[in-house]
């Protein structure tokens, strides 16, 4: 795994009906989503987004992740541009098994880690068979 070379993936620009109020492009962050016994974990790559500029919203079963960037070096003259800088936006529908009051979000080095704890009813219960 560690011996693999990284490949370029073009940033995917968001196609949306709603118009943005900011004049920056909006990209779809790459995510990993996995589930443990207790949590649903979302990892999203959002380089350039400061921790205070992440907005997470869970309404009913719709999880919305939004990140706004503060572009750097606006006054500089561009010589070479291989990637676009812009905001991030992505939505997921998740089953209503999340304890909304316990959602945790950590932003580190441009990666958002969202920990969504499952409600007790959704946790797998191990039933031991009693012997008489």
């Amino acid at each position: 795994m560690a011996e693999k070379d990284m490949q370029v993936r073009d940033k995917q620009e968001l196609q949306t009906q709603a118009e943005s109020t900011r004049s920056v492009p909006v990209y779809v962050p790459a995510v990993d989503i996995y589930e443990t016994e207790e949590n649903l974990v979302v990892l999203a790559d959002m380089p350039g987004v400061a921790p205070e500029n992440v907005d997470i919203d869970l309404t009913d079963d719709l999880l919305t992740i939004r990140g706004t960037v503060t572009p750097e070096g606006q006054a500089e003259r561009m010589l070479l541009s291989e990637y676009g800088v812009g905001d991030y936006y992505r939505q997921f529908t998740i089953g209503r098994i999340i304890d909304q009051s316990k959602i945790e979000a950590v932003m580190k080095d441009g990666v958002l880690k969202l920990t969504l704890p499952k409600v007790d009813a959704a946790k797998p219960r191990k039933i031991t068979v009693k012997t008489k």
């Binding site: 795994m1 990993d32 996995y34 790559d45 291989e82």
Partner: protein, 157 residues
């Protein structure tokens, strides 16, 4: 023989005009279709070397930026030799907890390296790099002789 401009050449000299026009139209159509793909990385030319870089300058510096989310700053090697900048590193994904089931896996990991020829001479010993919110910024001060110089016009007495 009378001289005429190439664009004004009489019809007898351009029997394929119709075809030519059709070819141009097709070409335009093609570049419009693929413009979105090519246009987003105009300088890379589909080489696909990670990470993509943005290079800019102001009067005194060249700035090289790269988006490297989740890469530890300790895992990035930057080297400057002459007017070549080399960048190397690795993105490691932390081992996920055991017994997890993945719903989606889009994030990539692995090694990367890139080198870039800088457009001007730089002062190699004054290069600075910073890493903030997953964005690497390398500031390369231009060598004195590469900086714009203001020359005052002397007024002859």
């Amino acid at each position: 023989m009378a001289l005429f401009r190439w664009s004004d050449r009489p019809d007898v000299f351009r029997p394929f005009e119709e075809l030519e026009r059709e070819m141009t139209r097709l070409q335009n159509e093609m570049s419009r279709l693929f413009g979105g793909v090519v246009g987003s990385r105009p300088f890379l030319g589909g080489v696909g070397v990670f990470p993509p870089l943005n290079v800019s300058e102001d009067a005194d510096n060249i700035f090289v930026r790269a988006e490297l989310p989740g890469v530890s700053p300790n895992e990035i090697d930057i080297m400057v030799e002459g007017n070549t900048l080399a960048l190397r590193g690795e993105r490691k994904l932390p081992e996920a907890e055991k017994e997890v089931s993945y719903h989606r896996r889009e994030r990539d990991a692995g090694r990367f390296s890139r080198s870039l020829t800088l457009p001007t001479r730089i002062e190699a010993d004054k290069v600075e790099a910073s890493f903030k919110n997953g964005v690497l910024t390398i500031r390369l001060p231009k060598a004195a002789e590469a900086r714009p110089k203001q020359i005052a016009v002397k007024v002859a007495a």
